[in-house]
Amino acid sequence: MNIRFSGFGGQGIILSGVILGWAAVLDGKNAIQTQSYGSSARGGSCKCDVIIQESAIYELEPEHNDILITFSQPSYNAFIKSLKEGGHLFYDSDLVTVDTNEFPCNSIPATDIAFKEFKQKIYANMLMLGFLAEKIRFIGFRAIEKSISQYVPTKTIEMNIAAFRMGIDLAK
């Protein structure tokens, strides 16, 4: 399964991918995570890819994705082409306008909810991760929560997990 997170730098895109990838490993699967960085992480679109498989992973850069998660219009525009036929699209409904109906779409106004519920936009990524995890049940919630608690600053673990769980609820 190839998953791409995308958006602006500073939206926690890469962290989402790392958390998901590590969760997959904790869940006994194989996973690799890659990201785009450097100058393009400042201005334009930023992306983070995760490949999760039962078998050994030999592909390094997937040509097509099964899932695309996007938090900005420019990144949506840039990456929508990479989504496989039948792939799933997740996006922040406040920040992205979708101009195709080729794909099953799942959206929440994650950033807005995060700001309203947790006082900080930065929790949008965990909201979305929960939303994704519930919609596509491929990694155990436990593993994801464990992964979250290992990757976010200790003081924010609780909030992040709360956001993650709210994402799950929103998907139900």
């Binding site: 590590w22 490993v25 996973a31 995570q33 960085y37 450097g38 100058s39 030999y58 390094l60």
Partner: protein, 380 residues
């Protein structure tokens, strides 16, 4: 906290690490206690991790004013008892070449990581490549041998870095750790070993006055501060280290010894992995990042009934001549997927009579399994 305690604290841990980070941890396990470097994409992660972890294990991190200074400090540290390393990418690796030659000439054990990016020149700074393979062998002036290793995963990056330090100490030669931007930046599972079960080659140090630069094929070292008043120079020297720049014999003896200590141990240094070679019509040879989709392609091709074997090089220099020569006799054609315009493929040509075809890809995106599969299918 000393090194032992620090490493115990990491015992048997499993982490999700980039190849760069895994290499840095590997160095710490190997006993690296000195790192001097200069930031550069895609190698900066190594410096950053070392700056964070070295002080914990009682080692030292220093960011120098450039790459030339970095390799200089690394060599200075070696002779002062350090197990030391630096990490850079192509532009910095080019700048280091003069002093890499110095390390060869003075037989200074150290590890130089080159996380290859898409070149030449500044090229595509954030994209991976395998374009420095021949530079690793020939980048510095004058006759010399070189050891260079290239891992294909984060776990191997960790494991092989320990081997890099071991080889470096054992052969008293700099070792080039040829990561590529792809492997350097993939994050995947890495399992740390128990340091007490690892085989760490301890520097061979003589406490008595001996010839530090000759007398035997790989002389033991004497370090600074041991009261032996050693003399270390990149000029031609006698076996006691004293400069002798006019005698042909002194030069010939020194350089051939330094050369031979590597090339005559080729088979001991050369690591590789083979798959399906007992029953093959064709052979794929690859290494580092390109070896992963190649492995995927080999599996696919065999599923399709194509008898293809796979030789994955782990040691690039000294080149694993024997296995190439042998496999070359048993195959109709050799395919070499590389993220460059054909570098290892050239070396293979020297040892085989069958056609060698480079499956080259440049521009910073690694081969897909399908690309390699299709290319080979179409060209057998």
């Amino acid at each position: 906290m000393n090194n032992q305690k620090y490493l115990d604290s990491l015992k048997n841990k499993t982490l999700f690490l980039q190849g760069d980070e895994a290499a840095a941890y590997g160095a710490l396990f190997a006993g690296c206690n000195f790192f001097a470097g200069y930031p550069i994409t895609p190698a900066s992660e190594i410096a950053e991790l070392m700056s964070r972890e070295l002080p914990k294990s009682g080692g030292y991190y220093i960011q120098m004013e450039d790459e030339i200074a970095s390799i200089g400090a690394v060599i200075g540290a070696v002779w002062s008892g350090g197990k030391s390393m630096t990490a850079t990418s192509g532009p910095g690796f080019s700048l280091m070449q003069e002093n890499i030659g110095y390390a060869c000439m003075t037989e200074s054990p150290c590890v130089i990581v080159d996380v290859q990016r898409s070149g030449p020149s500044t090229g595509q700074a954030t994209k991976g490549a395998q374009g420095d393979v021949l530079q690793a062998r020939w980048g510095t002036h004058g006759d010399h041998e070189m050891i260079a290793l290239s891992p294909w995963s984060s776990q191997e990056s960790f494991d092989l870095m320990i081997e890099a330090f071991n080889l470096s100490e054992k052969y008293r030669n700099p070792v080039i750790f040829l990561l590529d931007g792809e492997v350097g930046h993939i994050r995947e599972k890495v399992v740390f070993p128990d340091i007490n079960e690892l085989n760490i080659y301890q520097r061979n140090i003589s406490l008595e006055k001996i010839d530090v630069f000759g007398g035997q094929r790989i002389p033991p070292m004497i370090e600074f501060g041991m009261g032996q008043r050693i003399h270390v120079t990149g000029s031609t020297h006698k076996s006691n280290g004293m400069r002798d720049v006019s005698s042909m014999e002194a030069h010939d003896t020194l350089i051939r010894r330094i050369y031979d200590k590597i090339s005559s141990n080729r088979n001991e240094i050369a690591h590789f992995e083979t798959h399906y070679i007992d029953n093959m019509d064709y052979l794929a040879v690859s290494y580092g990042a390109a070896a992963r989709p190649t492995m995927g392609a080999v599996l696919k091709l065999r599923e399709r009934g194509i008898k293809i074997g796979f030789l994955r090089l782990i040691t690039i220099w000294p080149f694993p001549i024997d296995i190439c020569t042998e496999l070359g006799k048993r195959t109709k054609k050799i395919f070499v997927p590389e993220m460059n315009l054909g570098q290892v493929s050239r070396e293979i040509e020297r040892f085989v009579n069958c056609p060698v075809e480079s499956v080259s890809k440049i521009g910073g995106i690694s081969h897909t399994i399908d690309e390699i599969t299709n290319y080979i299918s179409a060209n057998i």
